[in-house]
Amino acid sequence: MHDAKRSSSTPVPTAASILEKYPPERDRILSALHEMQVRVPGKSWISDEELAETARHFNIPLAELDGVVSFYALFSRKKRGEHVIRLCDSLSCRICGSLDLYHHLRERLGITRGMTTGDRRFTLEIVNCLGACSTAPNMMIDDRLVSGLSVAEIDTLLDGFEEVES
């Protein structure tokens, strides 16, 4: 599984070094793509070059691999911010205040759904059920579930991200 945080002293793995860990069999494609997506700290997308190398490794046509990637909501073929916020707006979260969170994030970050902040720090996505409905409203920041927090608590969390990086 991928780690969201990596210390700055760890060298960035090449695409090839990631791929060589995976036997070139199709049932390993999604796992390889997940790892490829976060290959570089702060990166959360799959580039053309990474896609081509992955396609070559798994011996699958480029268009087909891109077709597989584009089917799944967690992957992106476009650059995203350093941190991807995924806000759930399925029924339980909606009736327990997801819109309050949405409006707050919109205000604080100055972006709407699908956009990335100007400083490229955050991307805001709206997703479907994250499977933690009893502590709604829910969101994920990178691979971490943020569940049942108040607006104030979320602000503190986002402040924390910004401090680490500045």
């Binding site: 070059e49 081509a52 396609a55 070559r56 691999l65 584009s70 089917f71």
Partner: protein
Amino acid sequence: MNVALRINGKPISVPSHTSVLEAAAVAGVEIPTLCRHEDLLPKGVCGMCLVKIDGQAGFKRACVTQAEEGMSVNTSTPDIRQIRRGLIELVLAAHPTDCLQCIKHGKCELQDLAEKLEVRDLRFDQYTRGLPVDRTSASIVRDMNKCIGCGRCVEVCNDVQTVGSIFFHGRGSDTIVSPAYGTHMGDSVCTNCGQCVVYCPVGALYEHELIDDVWTSIDNPEKMVVAQVAPAVRVSLGEEFGMQPGDLTVGKLYAALKTLGVDVVFDTNFSADLTIMEEGTELLERLQKGGPFPLITSCSPGWIKFGETFFPNLLENVSSCKSPQQMLGALTKTYFAKTRNIDPSRIVSLSIMPCTAKKFESARPEMNASGFRDVDYVLTTRELARMIRQAGIDFATLPEVSPDPLMSSYTGAATIFGASGGVMEAALRTAYEIATGTTLEQIEFADVRGMDGVKEAAVDVGGTTVRVAVSNGLGNARILLNRIAENKRAGKESYHFVEIMACAGGCIGGGGQPLENTFARRAERMKGLYREDRTLPRRKSHENPEVTQIYADFLDHPGSERAHQLLHTHYVEREAYPGLR
């Protein structure tokens, strides 16, 4: 083993493993379909073919449901009709309403279905994708606003042709068919074979039209338009005018071109005979030298790009001969220009082809041996038909005329180029006689004919057993080439001579052929070419008097320096995973 069942009360008996859809056809009942095509696997995605089977809950898709003993099927209940109607309205609500300007107007399966279902109302809110049309390919245009997601092109490109330049992208109602994100047809591994165009039911994939450019040239008094026509066209063009696939209409074809205003009409079959001289010589040289084997034919530009992309280490096996189209183009601007004392810069070289990849081929940078573009414009059979209709010509009543002399006479060997196995057979007819110095009595090689994917034969040429293989369709090419590559790696010999055609059936199944371009029609067109072969007085390429003439007057001998300069070419390796820098 047969099964007995009832369709709408009518009892019928069909072989086991028949689908309910096919069984209904036997009972004379037509069940509407949209995503299905007789040549491809049934997918069951459109939902149009719903039927009610007694004792089974819900509705079943007739195309993927097997007819079973004792089944009672109802194909048109009120509920089914209502669902079909709602379904087509949903499809139409997402489809552009520019039928009147669409290239498929009158030939569109969605239009046909809407008419069949008597759509009178569009109750849903209309929307379109608003995507740009992809015109980056020399051969094929993609308009994803019209794509209905039937999946035929995805199956054809990936599973049948094994090229893989397009696939489904996105999810849900955003799903389109496209090359990888950020790339276009023009920079993908697309081989331009146009089989996707053949199977697209709507106007989402179509040929890159050059009709207006050709009209401009014809209308320009400064320009002399010199046309050539491919073998496959003469047994297919008639389909656009109410005739049968396989009907020979070559005289009318010449007449149509003249009536349109083309100045000079030659025949690609002439240069097909010429190709045999050049390539036959190449084959004999390799047989003498002991390799490299196999020699692989090079007249199918779809196959050439496929080879350059996926089998670059076999390029050294490919014949250096240009395709007949390109040979004739080069000679038009040199030999013809010189003979008739015409300034070659005035000449517009036009070719009429069954093929979409020929458009790409004519635009390849190296195809300028004449000092000009050897071939300026390629029109597909369908485009020529449109021009004929635009000009108001009644094709069926045109009198037969002759083409212009110099580069238009041909033998039976040339005309069968349009069928899979034809190039091979033509080459064998000539190679045999030249190598042995004796007459070949049995000139028909049945083993290399027909629609089978890979065909093999062994021919005794003066004591040497020449092993040959023929493949049609790129998926079969891949199978054959993998076999050849493996043998090469193991140091074994597989074949001496191999013919590869990109399209099932050969050129008569090309991406530019009249629709419907089904396998059944391709088989009929092939028969038409073999019939013509039998009627012709000369059936071996080396017997063509104009070929003898061109060597005497211009080229000197096969493989000469001038022949190499004008009639031979080279290939380039291409990236199989474009995107890697």
